[in-house]
Amino acid sequence: MRTILLRKSAPALLALLALPAALPADEVSALREQLRQLEQKILILERKQELKDETAKAAPKPVTVAASDGRIEITSGDGATSLRLRGLVQGDYRWYDSANDANDTFILRRARLIFEGKFNNLFSYVVQPELAGTIQILDANLNVAFSPQVNLRVGKFKTPVGLEQLQSDPVAFFNERSVATNLTPNRDVGLALHGDVLNKTVNYTVALLNGVPDGGNNVTGAADFDSDKSVAARVFATPFVNDKDSLLNGLGVGFAISAGDYATTAGRTGGYRTDGQQTFFSYDSSVVAAGKGFTWSPQGYYYNGPLGILAEYVGSSIEVQRPTFGVREVKNFGYNLTVGYVLTGESASYRGVTPKTVFNPAAGTWGAFELVGRVSGLDVDDTVFAGPAASRLANPNTSATKLTAYGVGLNWYLSRSVRANFNLFQNKFDLAPGAAPAANALIADDETTFISRLQVSF
């Protein structure tokens, strides 16, 4: 504005400079005073505008409410406080082969409302109730972020062991996690120290927890059954994450353990399920955990463009006991190798796939499609079947000693929030020596399952 006004004044200024020789001194003086006053007016206008701009800049920013893909977020003007409301609904249809077709069913697999928030730039929290199946609080924890390197989480959260277990439900390659996940502890109550170090190339977590057994979940957030706590620790490195041009940019490798003394009520050692979510192994109902438990898992993933690979191995040993008999150590192993490829070219990642287009036939857009395949297995310690029926830990006629599971699937991303999955699983069982399952038992023959899912996740 000043430039414009001075430009407009320029002819007058030039005229004034030419005047001294022609005009009396008092007139020149008067003109100079007029020019001074004109300049003052310009300066005042400029200053007023400057103050107006400063006031606008200093004014507190209003609270913002943003909604996208079904997600709603309310954020304070300074960004220090926010509340995000999210949700997850999964509806499945499960089809089983003729030997198990009695289990064909529609099922509401998950229905969750997720509240995430932060405040004071230091605290954040998650409250996530599960409203399908067993109604429970899945996650309820407070995180204190002292720095990116040092965070403290307190409450109920996922035990930091299984790579696939730690992946968010709606972005996993398959409808159901692999059978190896049967061996990793799930959600528990306690506290965890975690953070990103070495320029965010290494993530670490060390947790102190009540302790849950293989595949277990502290459903009610209940107090510890015994006074002993378990510990879990995980280190996961993404060494090339800062090198965007590297072929290994999407490589991550890690190692996790959990250890503790476990004592459980009858049956709490749980059973192991197939990809079709049917139990293929369970301890005798009287068997309890009664000693040390240890889980270890080397794990890794690799993502590059539309390609995604996830692999993990899980070893588990737990001391269990059938009442009146001695404590026995049981060693089980599981593995999982999953590969995915996004046919429509979008990039795959541990956090899922974001389609470039949404499903809109009128516009000729169909979203994104991903092909997935998986081989996984779970090998149960053969010794659990040893001994007479009165003392053995598991019944060889109803439980298999080994499961090898194959799966293929197609994931259709209709939008960022809506996904349809079509998974076909073939589960092959190895039986314990001398086993004679009933003709209609699950383990009597291979299990073939087709599970389709429509998911809304926002």
């Binding site: 003052q40 200053r47 378990s230």
Partner: protein, 332 residues
């Protein structure tokens, strides 16, 4: 179990490390022209506190119009201490949210005013408009720079000094009101604080005279050159007593009561008083500092707010509250 013991020890160590890594941090919410004073004083206090207790103290500063700063504290700014332009602004912390007790001014010497100041005029070199006293400011053609009394403590001192001058010279509040009205007709820009007005006058080149805090006028001479500006001392001015207090409600919550108290007490120490004098504030308690800086300050007849206006509560109600004399005489 060894592993578990190790983990428990790790948690204990981490917790211990977090605890020992704590650095004491204070926030001093102050008015506009004290930036330079507290930059120097904070450094001296940190050294003093370190020597005395071994603790590290970092004092953060927040500056703005005094009234606006008091409002910020009431609205949630976590000030451990306030060092504002006038007691009336500090009083707002008593009446709005009871951040401090009503008798806060009795907790420190000299009514909690460790230094004083007054109001003078800053004019351009050669004093082209021939400004000598307050009545010259109301003359036609004189452009006057002063901040907004609604947001600036310094502006309130300015306003009341002009009012009292006119009351004495012309007789009565009505004449004083007319005078002040005429003066504010000459004000082209109202900044929200004293430092903003300094910018307007000194850096933007607007106006013929700046009604200024004494220390701010000296600072302008020091920073921008005595060849560019001159200080004009009026025949009468006001004794400005910037006041300080710990914000009890905040320090109790933050656990900083002792260090905040020590911070303000240090303003009364010989070093604190010397720093005030060095930054063109009049030391209030140290005879040594008073003597050292005596010749730095002009001799002016000063009146007090209590004597002329019955204290800040009454002065604010009569002049600066909504519907007060300022609202009556000033139309933007």
């Amino acid at each position: 179990m060894k592993l578990k013991s190790l983990l428990l020890a790790s948690f204990a160590l981490a917790a211990g490390a977090l605890a020992s890594a704590k650095n004491i941090e204070l926030l001093n919410v102050s008015y506009d022209p004290t930036r330079e004073l507290y930059v120097e004083f904070n450094k001296a206090f940190a050294a003093h506190w370190k020597a005395q207790t071994g603790d590290d103290v970092t004092v953060k500063q927040s500056h703005g119009g005094s009234g606006k700063q008091a409002r910020s504290v009431i609205d949630g700014l976590s000030a451990d201490v306030v060092t504002l332009a006038l007691a009336g602004d500090v009083d707002a912390l008593v009446t709005n949210g009871r951040y401090i007790p009503a008798d806060w001014q009795k907790r420190l010497p000299h009514n909690s005013a460790p230094y004083t100041s007054t109001i003078v005029f800053l004019v351009r070199a050669g004093n082209p408009k021939g400004i000598k006293d307050w009545d010259d400011l109301a003359k036609a053609g004189v452009s006057v720079i002063t901040p907004n009394p609604k947001t600036s403590g310094g502006a309130q001192w300015n306003y009341l000094a002009a009012w009292e001058f006119a009351r004495r010279k012309f007789g009565g509040d009505d004449k004083a009101k007319d005078f002040v009205r005429a003066l504010y007709k000459n004000v082209p820009v109202l900044d929200s604080g004293a430092r903003g007005s300094t910018t307007t006058f000194v850096q933007r080149g607007i106006g013929d005279v700046f009604i200024s805090w004494e220390n701010e006028a000296f600072l302008a001479l020091k920073e921008f050159g005595a060849d560019k500006f001159e200080i004009v001392v009026p025949s009468l001015s006001i004794l400005a007593e910037p006041t300080v207090t710990v914000v009890d409600k905040v320090v109790k919550r933050k656990g900083t009561e002792a260090v905040a108290k020590g911070y303000l007490e240090y303003l009364y120490s010989e070093e604190g008083q010397d720093i005030a004098g060095r930054n063109f504030y009049r030391p209030a308690v140290s005879e040594t500092a008073k003597a050292k800086y005596e010749n730095q300050f002009p001799k002016i007849e000063l009146f007090t707010i209590d004597a002329a206006f019955g204290g800040w509560t009454k002065a604010k109600k009569d002049h600066f509250a909504d519907g007060g004399t300022f609202d009556q005489i000033y139309a933007p």
